[in-house]
């Protein structure tokens, strides 16, 4: 399963005075099993782009292929797209509505017309993947759960559709540091177990650097940069100019480099920063003695 996007353009308010090209001639491919991070300031076109990937929005022009299925084709059925591409919206817990956790997760599979047994199996599997114990939580009301747990329920509802492409839009926004970490670990384990493509949209540069194989940088509706985290986060000046930034370790490394203490490599996380500083500072001390 791969994704191919060709010359995708989306225009909001077409023909009106404030017509805007939210997505402007964007093309890319994603290989099977890849983890893509998408970054971009508010209004750069990230959300518009991902809403095309699961068919919520139809483009002005261009096409999208998920595997061999062209989901931008006129005759395509929404269910066909939904089976392939799962989208977890921002603050998905606001969309929980059923009286129990298991009913909420079963909602999507039910709409696919699956048998009761198949639905039950999928609900159990999805709950396990998001780290919610079936015996403890299946019969509880989603509204009694904590923020992090509610979000897991919402994500399980998408996973229960067994999508080949899982898209997460700011899955950690508003969570405390521990729940934030837990959700990231959950995403890693889902990817590990289910395979397929994962697309993470985030304002947290550190998370994107840590998780993604490749980073897509959106600006003004265009794909401004594409590369590995090391390639993309090497250019702090560019990212700042378009309202973004780099992970904290990279920010500090760049600051030290500007003042003479250069590492000569791209530093993205605290481990790399620790190694560089420990080597440089203790190495110098040893050579002295």
């Amino acid at each position: 399963m791969s994704i191919r996007v060709e010359n995708l353009t989306h225009i909001y308010n077409k023909g009106l005075a404030y017509e805007t090209k939210a997505v402007d001639d964007v093309s890319f491919t994603v290989a099977d099993g890849e983890f893509i991070g998408i970054i971009g300031h508010t209004g750069s076109g990230k959300s518009t782009l991902i809403q095309h990937l699961n068919g919520i929005l139809k483009p002005e022009s261009g096409s999208i292929f998920i595997g061999d299925a062209e989901i931008t084709a006129k005759k395509i059925k929404m269910n066909e797209i939904r089976k392939r591409v799962g989208l977890v919206f921002q603050y998905p817990e606001y969309q929980l509505f059923e009286e129990t956790v298991s009913k909420d997760i079963a909602f999507g599979p039910k709409n696919l017309g699956l048998s009761e047994e198949e639905i039950d199996e999928r609900v159990r599997e999805a709950m396990q993947m998001v780290g919610l114990d079936f015996a403890t939580y299946a019969g509880r009301s989603p509204f009694e759960l904590s923020g992090g747990q509610k979000r897991r329920v919402a994500i399980a509802g998408v996973i229960a559709m067994r999508p080949e492409v899982l898209i997460l839009d700011e899955p950690t926004a508003g969570l405390d540091p521990k729940s934030h970490e837990d959700i990231l670990n959950m995403v890693k384990s889902i990817r590990h177990r289910a395979g397929g493509i994962v697309i993470l949209v985030s304002h947290n540069m550190g998370d994107v650097a840590e998780m993604a194989d490749r980073v897509f940088v959106m600006d003004g509706g265009k794909l401004a940069r594409v590369g590995t985290p090391a390639e993309v986060f090497a250019d702090e000046a560019f990212l700042k100019r378009i309202g973004l930034g780099v992970p904290p370790a990279a920010r500090m490394a760049n600051d030290l480099a500007a003042r003479g203490l250069a590492s000569g490599r791209v530093i993205l996380n605290i481990d790399e920063m620790t190694d560089f500083l420990a080597d440089t500072l203790s190495g110098a001390r040893e050579s002295k003695s």
Partner: protein, 298 residues
């Protein structure tokens, strides 16, 4: 209405708030706020952190009388929130800014949005115009005053929401995760404005999950299960690393890096909690090494 002249801006005495259905704190225990006492100095900057459901937002909503104590008292600038007659005085003094700017903007034009609060206070039209100018200037959004809020970026919207609060001329502004939904630039903009308001002697209470945003505060209060778990200056709080981690919180980047470098034998004094302070020290260490390399001992 009782009014007692008070040197503290906010005085919370043994506050208990029993659990009701508060959307954002749905996981809170029965006592969302459980016997909390806290004093906030005039003009100070207090950061409140703690995991989801620890009672932070409930505490904040008790300060502007959106929620009322089951027992204990909350005194704002001398006015008791349980005194019905004081409600108006309290709401005028305490402004709140929430996480989602889209839920806080009500008008089709930026300046109308800022005027909304003062109009409801019955402020005269000339004075309203002055307040619009003053508050939008304070958040660097005066040039956008004729624009429609939905055309602004997240950070810009949040700045307009803050301007709407400033236009009420509050003494206290409570920010409840104001940067949670913003991109890096929007976060920096909003934090810049919060620090500026603090410099201008507004009493600031900031609830956040981002540890870096607490580093310039006067005091950090950590909530846990409805109680105050820790309290102190940022340097004091972040020197207690094991306790912080036990409360499921994260260390600021510079503190974490310091801990790791110390394990590797690098000498770093306590209290360097910002990246800038740590960088300065590392550069000094490095230059010291360089100099000794250049001048080998004879």
């Amino acid at each position: 209405m009782n009014f007692v002249k008070d040197d503290k801006m906010i005085r919370i005495e043994d506050l208990v708030f029993e659990y009701g259905w508060d959307e954002e704190e749905a996981a809170a225990p029965v006592n969302a706020v459980d016997h909390v006492s806290l004093e906030v100095e005039r003009g100070s900057f207090t950061a409140v952190i703690g995991r989801n459901g620890s009672g932070k937002s409930t505490l904040a909503k008790n300060i502007n009388a959106l929620l009322l104590p089951a027992s204990g008292r909350v005194i704002v600038d001398g006015f008791d929130t349980l005194d019905d007659a004081a409600l108006w005085e309290i709401r005028q003094r305490v402004g709140m800014v929430f996480q989602n700017p889209d839920n806080q903007l009500v008008s089709a034009v930026v300046e109308d949005d800022v005027a909304f609060g003062p109009e409801n206070l019955g402020v005269a039209p000339d004075e309203i115009r002055e307040r619009i100018r003053f508050s939008l200037t304070a958040v660097d959004m005066y040039a956008h005053r004729k624009m429609a809020p939905h055309l602004l970026s997240g950070g810009q919207k949040q700045r307009v929401a803050i301007a709407g609060v400033i236009a009420m001329k509050p003494e206290i502004i409570i920010f409840d995760e104001p940067t949670a939904m913003l991109d890096p630039e929007g976060r920096a903009e909003v934090m810049g404005i919060i620090e500026r308001l603090h410099e201008e002697n507004i009493t600031v209470v900031l609830i956040t999950h981002f540890m870096e945003e607490t580093l310039n505060s006067d005091r950090i209060v950590i909530m846990d299960r409805g109680r105050i778990a820790m309290e102190g200056t940022p340097a004091e709080i972040f020197s207690r690393t094991a306790e912080i981690e036990a409360l499921d919180l994260k260390l600021p980047f510079a503190v974490e890096l310091t801990a790791r470098l110390k394990e590797r034998g690098i000498d770093i004094p306590a209290g360097l909690i910002t990246e800038r302070a740590l960088s300065e020290h590392l550069l000094t260490l490095w230059k010291g090494n360089e100099t000794s390399d250049l001048c080998p001992s004879e």
